[in-house]
Symmetry: C2
Subunit: 457 residues, 2 copies
Amino acid sequence: MEKTFIKALSDIVGESYTLTDKESLACYGYDSTPELESKPGVVVLPGNLEEISRIMALAHDAGVRVTPRGSGTNLSGGSISFDAGVILQTSRMNRILEIDEENLTATVETGVVTSALHREVEAKGLFYPPDPGSMNISTMGGNVAENSGGLRGLKYGVTDDYVMGLKTVLANGELLKTGGKVVKDVAGYNLNQLLVSSEGTLGIFGEITVKLIPKPKTKKTMLVHFPQLEMAALTVSHIIAARIIPATLEFLDRVTIKCVEDYAHVGLPLDVDAVLLIEVDGHPAQVEEDAEGIRQICERHNCSFFQTAASADEALKLATARRVALSALARVKPTTILEDATVPRSCIAPMVKLIQETAKKYNLTIGTFGHAGDGNLHPTCLTDERDQDEIKRAHAAFGEIFDATIAMGGTITGEHGVGVAKKKYLPKLVGESGIKVMRGIKGAFDPKGILNPGKIF
Amino acid sequence: MEKTFIKALSDIVGESYTLTDKESLACYGYDSTPELESKPGVVVLPGNLEEISRIMALAHDAGVRVTPRGSGTNLSGGSISFDAGVILQTSRMNRILEIDEENLTATVETGVVTSALHREVEAKGLFYPPDPGSMNISTMGGNVAENSGGLRGLKYGVTDDYVMGLKTVLANGELLKTGGKVVKDVAGYNLNQLLVSSEGTLGIFGEITVKLIPKPKTKKTMLVHFPQLEMAALTVSHIIAARIIPATLEFLDRVTIKCVEDYAHVGLPLDVDAVLLIEVDGHPAQVEEDAEGIRQICERHNCSFFQTAASADEALKLATARRVALSALARVKPTTILEDATVPRSCIAPMVKLIQETAKKYNLTIGTFGHAGDGNLHPTCLTDERDQDEIKRAHAAFGEIFDATIAMGGTITGEHGVGVAKKKYLPKLVGESGIKVMRGIKGAFDPKGILNPGKIF
């Protein structure tokens, strides 16, 4: 990277926020995706929207490529610069600018950590539902770029259901303002929703305005064991068929259960096929009825154990099994390939079965957990990237799993993004006309192709 | 229009579905927008997705322009062909293809009337919330193209909150499939949400899959009179501040109240400044508490009358005042200019006041009603297009109203679309970079510019 370019960057943000030392470049050379690594040419940390604009204008003129990055929790290689370009690191922009109680909105800078926003709004009796697994470190800008989901998606939807306004810096440094505090807006194309889940390829978010809702009055947390996988899957279907929409309806399979128990000792049995974690929230009367309805459905489907948390502490303990699932799996082997195949929720049972059979076929350890109510599963392959033969088998297995997902009317990614990791599967899903249209959109926003290059297509 | 082109159209759909007689061209020459009229060259009524594809491929090759049209309830001139092109009329495609109770989705052809879908899903205990004023005639395809709102937007959102999957025919006749029955999908750009509210300029919808939710167990309808406008507006704010989210929170001003009473004789008083129609729904215990909370807030703000419907029939009667507002206003004068300025809900009071002052300043009759809870108002000017001086004043007045809306952080259209009627205001709202990006997107979908030309920009 040219010295004059780096000097110009440091003129914008200051020397201490322009990193070129070997250690920094190494640290910003990977994210949470296994097997991927590539050092950037420089890391720059802007302090405000204006500085992002100036950085982009500079990079645009110079034809230098820029990859925006929040906390690097990306799971598809989306926050790695593969061409020794600029990493634009947003963590300094971490102010919650406003919580507007009258309009039920919050406006934050892009680098605000998701759970920090949760705490602030909940203190005011309000609620920002999206709660990705990474919420204690991931940033709002990253959540918007990836359209992050979480455990409350079934009832409350995901990030794009809450984004109302964005201040986005385009590739050439221009500021694009979309939406705001109006709850209804049909003036021109819906750029807001197009920018959500654009994975940093269309613009860099500076400020984000999200919708808030009243905090649910109460909730009830249940943990249920099922000796048979099919019965757990049927339970999920029948809860929905009974017109009950839990906030959370999560699933762990046998492999995951064993890893969680080895790790966290929460008292999970090792002889069951599946565990469901279920949470209902809302008005106390509604919660009471829903919980009782769910208990009856679970019992009709031969659950071997049904526990309702008696207190908030106990609820937290029950939820631990699900919350630690990824960590528990990740410690078993050096490399964890976490996927997020997503199917219509009616296909949960055949999907879990297919994953287990594919694991057996390729002689792999795959634990599956995830958002059963959303049809969004996380088959997680425990492997070692030094074992190239096993890695090859893992990729072959996931190829088959994605093909099956698409055949069931599902998608290759429910919440982790395409990034570079799933680029090769995208054309299968969206077809040639889909890719062509997406490339055209990319061209409309970023004709020089300098923003997060090489991602998605 | 060339005879060979018309012959080729009729080869696709049959002669009886290719209309060129004078009467038909006149009938399809206008929609629900005042002051606008323009005869198409031909009207074609495809019977299925395949036929739409073939029509578009033909038009694309010939460079002929095509305007899709549902029931012509468009309020911004969006369904008029201004260049004597093809009107592609979707009303034959009116089958509800599937209601999937396990995945909570409905899949419909584009020409299905919205209220027909309501009836079908409600018979199964399910619920499709969007309920635009035109729901008894408007089509689902039109609702998606315009991102239609309705009276239940405050709690349930609008059309784009429910669209999960689309089969769209692109300008060149290619089929684009986006989304489906998965509730989470981040594979590539969010084309689904970009297509919603694209006003027929990016593609023609053939099939639409929407999300359903369980039907609320019960509801309560309230009608409240306020001698003072400010008190009605404050009531809206304080209901939300009390963390109560009604399904419906609608407003009528003094002009509208008078017209409604003259028309429907529902017993509205003529000496009040404002009427609120409020509906809460959900679990009975929640509904009971919310209604009581609302009653207390209304009384604290000096309402002069508060009625809760004792039965479903009575609820319907109370809602009549709001449901007939547009018809009641429309009968007063030959020309009704219905707008949908939308502001953050905290600005409802200053906005209504500004509309009233502007009406006085320009010596106009403007009645205002609308979705107060959403900040989405319908200032409605009662005029006569033969009185060119008054029409001129009306447009000047709305120009000022839109400027004020934008200054308050609002938008020029909350649910009616830009069409041709609001094209000149769009650049003020979205800025040059917004227009540039939108034009780029249009080019990516429709490089020849044949789809609903002249709309939006």
